[in-house]
């Protein structure tokens, strides 16, 4: 059977998705990156291959997410795509006619506006990361509520409190203040969700025309409290697609399929990458006062790729690998 693989190495999670020739999801793996992208990538491959039927053959692979270059070099991906494009591709496949994508991940949030199936406009959080998944994670931990139950608790609220949401640090102080005043936890949790949604719409969503169908995806879409807060503010139904937390990987798989079919072959190195020894090492270049931190990806003694330099002295010195961008 022909399959295609999509890999999303994000700041918080590493996901692998396997699709068939008709873009149906066959299997997926969702892992926490825990700051070890290479290890978790290999872990994901191991897990996926253990569940694989015998007759499966990978015809193409694509990577996305902040670790897309790294994952691309290690796996030999056919395409290395940014997460904005892959998310848009995924949503338009799973929710035909989608016009607005609200995406909140671990460390970034973005809005993608589609018109007639094409990305028309997008925005990403710029100088501030307040209101992303990591912050919710941290607050759930502080309130001693498992993150999975955090959203449901918000739904129990009868009277959400108003929390200053512009800055994550001030939001936290404001939450603590409200707790000390004696407000109950569900009201505070719901208030936090509303504050984050308000912040999102005022920053990332500023000046964008949000038309339905609206899709809410990314890890934070698991939070039903956030979903209902979005619905309350936007006065419209917000859909959370079935594969909301692996949309990037799914989009990468879809694009990998397009690319591999166009080229007629794949550069994918196979599931054996999970058994090889990869190492990332770094050094500081002393060529000029920029002191760039160069990263090297090494497989059993050979340097596969280098990046991190401004001038191109190191990244262009690796000749046996193809250019990454």
């Amino acid at each position: 059977m022909k399959v295609f693989i999509g890999i999303d190495v994000g700041s918080v999670s590493t996901n692998l998705v396997l699709i068939d020739n008709n873009n149906n999801v066959l299997d997926f793996v969702y892992l926490r990156t825990s700051g070890q992208p290479i290890k978790m990538l290999q872990e994901g491959f191991r897990e996926l291959s253990s569940r694989l039927p015998k007759d499966v053959q990978v015809y193409g692979a694509g990577t996305t997410g902040s670790g897309r270059q790294l994952a691309g070099v290690i796996t030999g991906a056919d395409i290395i795509k940014n997460e904005i494009t892959t998310h848009a591709v995924a949503a338009s496949f799973l929710v035909p006619g989608v016009q607005t994508i609200l995406e909140i991940g671990g460390q970034d949030s973005k809005i993608i506006i589609l018109r007639k199936g094409v990305v028309y406009d997008f925005a990403m959080n710029t100088v501030c990361a307040a209101g992303t998944g990591s912050f919710l994670d941290q607050q759930a931990y502080r309130l001693n509520i498992p993150i999975e139950e955090f959203g449901y608790m918000a739904l129990e609220a009868s009277n959400p409190v108003r929390i200053a949401g512009r800055c994550a640090v001030f939001a936290e102080s404001d939450m603590i203040h409200k707790q000390q005043l004696g407000y109950n936890t569900p009201d505070i949790v719901a208030g936090l969700c509303e504050a984050l949604v308000r912040n999102y719409l005022n920053n990332v969503g500023k000046g964008k025309q949000i038309l339905s169908p609206v899709v809410f995806q990314g890890g934070v879409a698991a939070n039903v409290g956030m979903k209902s807060a979005f619905e309350k503010f936007l006065q419209t139904e917000v859909a959370v697609p079935r594969y909301y937390n692996i949309m990037g990987a799914f989009g990468a798989a879809v694009l990998a399929r397009e690319e591999a079919l166009k080229n007629g072959k794949t550069k994918f190195k196979g599931f054996s990458v999970s058994e090889e020894e990869y190492r990332a090492s770094g050094f500081e270049c002393d060529g000029c006062a920029n002191c760039c931190e160069i990263v090297e990806i090494i497989r059993s003694g050979t340097v596969l790729a280098r990046w991190g330099d401004r001038c191109g002295k190191w990244s262009s010195s690796v000749t046996n690998s193809e250019r990454i961008s």
């Binding site: 795509k81 904005i84 094409v118 006062a289 191109g312």
Partner: protein, 365 residues
């Protein structure tokens, strides 16, 4: 007197040539690097914009090399840069650097105001020689601008990755090395040939992107993560809405050269979106976006340093312009905390957006 001045892209090539023509000793700060930024950010007010910080870093680094006089541009308008020279002077004094600051500003009433400042720097040179010196430096700036423009055209079309930039570097070096006015035209021919000889695929489909925004972020590759080169490698032909030669012609020479592209065009194109000057290049940003839309460019990127007031005004108006003229606009805000990875992700996504849109347009056509 050992004169230094802040970096802004290739500006130094012309200014240094002018000063050395007049036998002024010039000490250039090293090119802007992380060290420059660290030094500048450490001593500058947090909410001042990147230009102030990088300038300050430049002065400190140049002082270590022995410079004692600063030539700095000023301005008179809502943009804060007009007062940066004074702020920087005070900071440098507090830090114990002994510098003399000479501020070159757009003349308020008459061009002689500018000349009197130049007089201070150039000493006993005759006026005629000063004019020849300005002409010499200005010719170099014009040539560099011309080369950059050609490079922006060639980069997305080059057959071998990096050829254009290697040609550009060697051509620039030739311009830098010119010592006499009489050699200028020969070198001009030579450098044009160098860049024209880069093997290109003329018929390649490229995306056309106009870059608008604040002049420093447009011209200094260190602060904009080398955006022209990056976009070029991704397959985009980039047009910069502002070039130094044009700025000088408009603001210092009071538009002597009528043939050159002028900020007047973009200001005229700005209404009804923005009807008056908001300082800096705010109005030009809007006007240039309108002009790019009229010229059927695929997209526009606005660059601004964080906290830049005129560009913030323009930024809030741009979504409307973008919608009405259906030209996609991406705004990138640069400061010392800007991450390269985030910028690249946005540029890649913007390129995807533009090429998908273009494909669709061609299918319909």
């Amino acid at each position: 007197m050992r004169v230094t001045f802040p970096h802004m892209g290739d500006t130094w090539i012309g200014v240094k040539a002018m000063l050395e023509y007049l036998d002024v000793e010039v000490l250039m700060p090293p090119p802007c690097t992380k060290k420059t930024m660290v030094l500048g950010s450490e001593h500058a007010p947090e909410f001042a914009c990147m230009p102030l910080k990088l300038n300050l870093g430049n002065y400190i680094e140049a002082s270590e090399l022995g410079a004692n006089t600063i030539m700095m541009t000023g301005g008179c308008g809502p943009c804060r840069l007009g007062y940066y020279a004074q702020v920087q002077d005070t900071i440098l004094q507090d830090l114990g650097y002994s510098y003399k600051m000479v501020v070159l500003e757009p003349p308020e009433k008459h061009i002689t105001e500018l000349f009197s400042k130049i007089r201070y720097i150039t000493g006993n040179n005759s006026w005629w020689k000063v004019i020849k010196g300005i002409h010499f430096g200005y010719s170099k700036i014009k040539m560099v601008d011309e080369l950059n423009k050609k490079a922006c055209w060639a980069r997305p079309r080059e057959i071998n990755r990096g050829d254009t930039d290697r040609a550009l570097e060697s051509a620039k070096q030739k311009i830098i090395n010119v010592e006499y006015t009489k050699d200028l035209s020969a070198v001009h021919q030579e450098v044009l040939e160098i860049i024209d000889q880069v093997p290109v695929d003329k018929d390649r489909d490229v995306i056309k992107i106009g870059i608008v925004g604040e002049i420093f972020t447009l011209l200094e590759p260190f602060i904009n993560f080398d955006i022209e080169r990056r976009l070029g490698y991704m397959g985009a032909e980039v047009d910069r809405s502002l070039n130094l030669s044009e700025w000088i012609n408009d603001h210092l020479f009071l538009s002597i050269n009528k043939k050159m592209r002028s900020c007047k065009e973009s200001r005229m194109a700005s209404p009804p979106y923005l009807n008056h000057n908001v300082g800096g290049h705010g109005q030009e940003t809007i006007g240039s976006t309108v002009l790019y839309a009229r010229r059927n460019f695929d997209g526009v990127i606005q660059l601004l340093p964080f906290t830049c007031m005129p560009e913030i005004v323009a930024q809030t108006i741009l979504p409307g312009v973008s919608n009405e003229l259906s030209i996609p606009v991406l705004t990138l805000i640069m400061d010392e905390h800007s991450g390269e990875a985030g910028t690249v992700t946005r540029l890649e996504a913007f390129m995807d957006l533009l090429s998908r849109k273009k494909q669709k347009k061609e299918v319909l056509a």
